[in-house]
Symmetry: C2
Subunit: 477 residues, 2 copies
């Protein structure tokens, strides 16, 4: 995958990394939508790809060729997976022309990559990246993450998300080393850090969570400072404290597929070092300020397009513009026009702006819970619940309510051995720390399904909450 | 000066920093050529500027307004230098409109700065920088010099050379601190490093020389690693050893005005650490590889435009292309076309290429003498000397110097019957007509050997000058 991040653009083609969790149905939709000519597949996913091609075949679509990538071990035992596959990766590389002249893009705005967001099968959104944007975001990512030459980067962020937030190209630009894991588990993370002297890694809060909650036997003392870049959701205070205790320096950033990965980072100011831990954690939860490759980030009222006051209170929509914002959505002029209304990319995230210009996301537009006319930020409620010592993970969504419109409903996964905690405990814990209307009315204990970036799959939870029906019975009122 | 690096472009104007060593004659030529509208002058150079304006006035040119910059001390004693000066800097700033809307360039290729190279007075070469190039070179300079956020930069490289090699903008991009010295002397360098915890500085080999040869009383132990970026001429092994002994990490780069400052850097490979000191010094004397903002650097045969083999032996001309190469020379289409013949910028420097791609400059095609970091065109000095009534022939070459790097050395053949003219006469004659640093330090009277085409055989004279040894004795080396 890493090699292809260079080989494909250098061959004058467009890279399209697909999520390894897609099933055959979704894959066939994306292969058709992208008009892929050649598909490189790791042996682990060969069956899924074959399923996708069968679907395409049935509907009469033209099929891409398959190049199969086997790992060294499988190569040596000579496993027969090449059957029905036209090309084997290692043979393809061997047969390459060493004198092949790199095909430079005719225009720097020409596409280098196509990245599908987590859309539905009915309308996949293919985000088009340009050479220009990828170059600038790669440099900005290196700068904002404090990378010197020869970084050692541990891949826990998948390369199929915004091309690994452009770390793929950034690490090469800095002459760095890439450490890849077949399975992202704490034991392998710690042993890789020690063996390869890792300097940087990325990871959704879920990954950080896994690291700090791993058994002591899996943990190892770090050989030096390791910068851990996190995003997707703001890291909970406890996660930050524990990470720093073990020796990680956590950088919190805000990224989105349409912005090539990182767009803003909570750049740390030395004067914050002296604050009490809780204050530091609160500040680090902010999404921060734009990086050097981006022209402008603002929080605006989407109706008037006016900037919200920098009062840490007034909410608006995060909007971005500049070179590191996508060219548009592939074959979807309408969605592109909507996304760029009034000349700014509309993120759909709701945020406030602090007097120093740092932004903080309060919620996705659709994740706001409106209860009795009050806007409740589900993130704020989640922050409080996740600070409960028995809580491992939490997600809060709206539960429809006949009286209040909506009420907050919390889905909680408890830590091992904490199963005596009750709904009432969690609700009381919130009421002691939040305005009463913000405390959840419903608490459900269960394992949370998460997306690969660590976001709880809220649409599933929303469905569940909706199925519960109204908590308040109107007849009683 | 630092403030103006931001204020001028943000006002939609073009910045043109002029060398403080220019005399009034040279200044008036450049003010006319650049069509300057407004000149900001430090009180130290007010008389020179007034002289330049008088020259311009006599020739009927329209005159720029003067803004005078006084230092705080002079302000407080209320010294009357404002007489005959239209505007005072501090008052100008006070009168500014805080709501002024920054004027963005219409096109990213629009000029941001004009930088005069050490051309002759007859045809000054004004190198035009674009916003695009300055942005990219600033980021590349930060990256290549291993700057994290909040660097503390000590200015010993003047900001009028390629806008301080774009460190002006780069330091701001990284949220850094600028430490400026009115006089670049070792004592102030060391005390600034200690007081402000300097992390980075620039300096021609002359400055490094001064640092290591300063009296022990002036030296202070460094508070941490200080990266010293040097260029202009490769640092001598002794200079490198001594600098590293005191605690500096010396980075050697190759820059030129036409490339916005740094173009290549001798990026250090860890495997070189184990080499004996002399081998390390030899490698560090190489000019290295291109930075991330530049597209291509090559060593080519200027006749065939073919790359020389990477054999560390075959000489060719250093050629560059990419975004961080100038737009061209102001009002000089011919010089611009010559410089960009065949689509590459021709540096005029002769170099070899090593098998690992690192380049090393062996000689300068143009007979440039580099004295104290200043480029001196030998042709320009020759022009002045040959205008002396007693001089028949002259050739000027570089004489190696422990302190200045090089000093100009003139070989002069006097006319018959003029043998009473002395070295001191020639030097005075030059000093009356040129900036002092351009005047020869050594004058040798002898017959010049010439080629059939009439050019002095400079390589013979260079040998002779080299055999003289250093004029400045630095007994400590």
């Amino acid at each position: 995958m890493y090699e292809l991040h260079f080989a494909v653009p250098m061959a004058g083609a467009v890279l399209c990394s697909l999520n390894i969790r897609h099933d055959s149905a979704m894959l066939s939709v994306l292969l058709k939508h992208s008009k892929a000519k050649l598909i490189f597949v790791d042996y682990q996913f060969l069956d899924t790809v074959r399923g996708a091609l069968e679907n395409m075949s049935k509907s009469g679509s033209s099929l891409p060729d398959i190049v199969l990538v086997l790992d060294e071990q499988l190569m040596s035992v000579g496993i027969d997976m090449l059957q029905n596959t036209t090309i084997d990766y290692e043979n393809l590389v061997q047969a390459g022309d060493p004198e092949f002249e790199i095909r430079k893009p005719k225009d720097e705005w020409d596409p280098i990559a196509l990245n599908y967001t987590s859309g539905t099968t009915s309308s996949p959104k293919g985000v088009v990246y340009s050479h220009r944007g990828a170059y600038l975001n790669s440099l900005a990512t290196v700068l904002v993450n404090e990378m010197l030459t020869r970084p050692v980067f541990l891949w826990t962020v998948p390369m199929f998300h915004c091309n690994g937030w452009c770390f793929t190209w950034g690490i090469a630009a800095q002459g760095g080393v890439n450490v890849c894991l077949r399975n992202v588990v704490a034991k392998d993370i710690f042993s890789s850090i020690v063996e390869f002297k890792v300097t940087h890694m990325g990871g959704a809060p879920t990954v950080l969570n896994m690291i700090i909650n791993s058994p002591d036997g899996d943990k190892k003392p770090l050989p030096g400072k390791v910068v851990a870049i996190t995003g997707g959701a703001p890291p909970a205070p406890q996660v930050l404290f524990k990470m720093e205790e073990i020796g990680f320096a956590v950088t919190h950033g805000y990224g989105l597929t349409e912005a090539y990965g990182l767009a803003t980072v909570c750049v740390w100011k030395p004067e914050w070092d002296a604050l009490p831990p809780n204050e530091r954690a609160k500040i680090k939860a902010r999404q921060g300020v734009l990086h050097l490759g981006l022209e402008e980030v603002d929080v605006k009222d989407p109706m008037t397009m006016k900037s919200v006051p920098a009062d840490a209170k007034t909410m608006g929509e995060v909007m971005l513009r500049g070179n590191t914002i996508m060219n548009g959505y592939l074959s979807d002029e309408k969605a592109t026009q909507e996304a760029f209304e009034n000349g700014w990319y509309h993120s759909g995230d709701l945020a406030v702006k602090y007097p120093d210009g740092y932004i903080q996301i309060k919620d996705r537009a659709k994740d706001i819970i409106i209860s009795g006319g009050e806007n409740i930020s589900s993130i704020e409620v989640e922050d409080v619940i996740s600070s409960h010592p028995a809580v491992l993970e939490v997600a809060v969504v709206a539960r429809p309510d006949d009286h209040w419109g909506e009420t907050p409903c919390a889905f909680v996964k408890l830590k091992d051995g904490c199963n005596d905690v009750t709904s009432a405990d969690i609700i009381k814990f919130c009421r002691d720390r939040l305005p009463h209307y913000m405390a959840p009315r419903t608490v459900v204990f269960e394992d949370l399904q998460r997306t690969i970036t660590g976001k709880a799959q809220k649409y599933i939870l929303r469905e569940k909450a909706r199925a519960m029906g109204s908590l308040t019975k109107t007849s009683k009122l």
